[in-house]
Amino acid sequence: MSDAPVHCAVGLHHVEQVMGMAVSIDIRDPDAPPAAVDEVIGWLHHVDTTFSTYKLESPISALGRGELTFEDVTDEVRDVLRRCENLRVETDGAFDAFAVPAPNGTTLDPSGLVKGWSIEESAAILEAHGCHNFCINAGGDIAVRGRPSPSEQWTIGIRHPDDASALALVLIATDRFAVATSASYERGAHIVDPRTGEPTTELASATIVGPDLTLADGYATAVYVMGLEGLAWIEKRPGYDAYLITRDNMTHWTAGLDRYRQIPLT
């Protein structure tokens, strides 16, 4: 299935190709057991098999085609769909897993929440194995716990929209910290506003930070669709902050973001 995790000077490190992307797992606990990484890898492949909108045989694809009903699927699938429905209501339809075109040709696509949720669950698996200092990056969505070393804090770069090798911002993470970014780096927009069916055009990227990656991932999708109006919306969510870059390369952020900045504002 995959290579064994690499034993580092301190901790374990592994990159797994799954769900069509790279998932980087960086554990800094000196005594981290390889079984912890193995369990996360197995979990991520299970999520891919169950929730992939690229696999026509997945339960979520069958549900989208109407071959399965809400009653036919597992509690796990129902739980994820309930979370999607709650988020649809909370975002007034800016996040809508039930009304966006999916790769499998249906209009059921919970991917905007599943990635964050699967990584938040992965973090819980690592914690159950006694790991308390790690960073998981799933295709640019990040969950961290603890510290990289006793004297450091985790630092997270936000990609520059025009340059894959440059960072627009560096954030210093607190314990239990999540970062999710929705973006369309090529100039052609490919995130559709579920409320209108039209591509979004205002933002180049929307980054959400907060304690939980399931919500941060869904919020990032919603705020990307909302545009700059999303700032006021995020301000009403305690513990969550936003950093937005518009198509004309201007940045906007919620006041609470300043506490995570590495470089002070002028």
Partner: protein
């Protein structure tokens, strides 16, 4: 209301290159497996796997 809508050009005071910033991880839109090979995150992972810290 604590909304902060100050607008700052992203390429001005906040522009940070990979060379000037030591980061442990990079957030961005979903890397496909192909994009990952060329990404900052893959360079960070390669450095970590070879035992080099701090990274990038």
């Amino acid at each position: 209301v604590r909304i902060n809508t100050r607008a700052v050009p992203v390429l001005n005071s906040e522009a940070l290159t990979a060379q000037s910033a030591k980061v442990h991880s990079v957030s961005g839109a979903t890397y496909t497996s192909n994009d990952y090979v060329k990404s900052l995150q893959s360079a960070i992972d390669a450095a970590r796997a070879s035992g080099i810290t701090p990274l990038v």
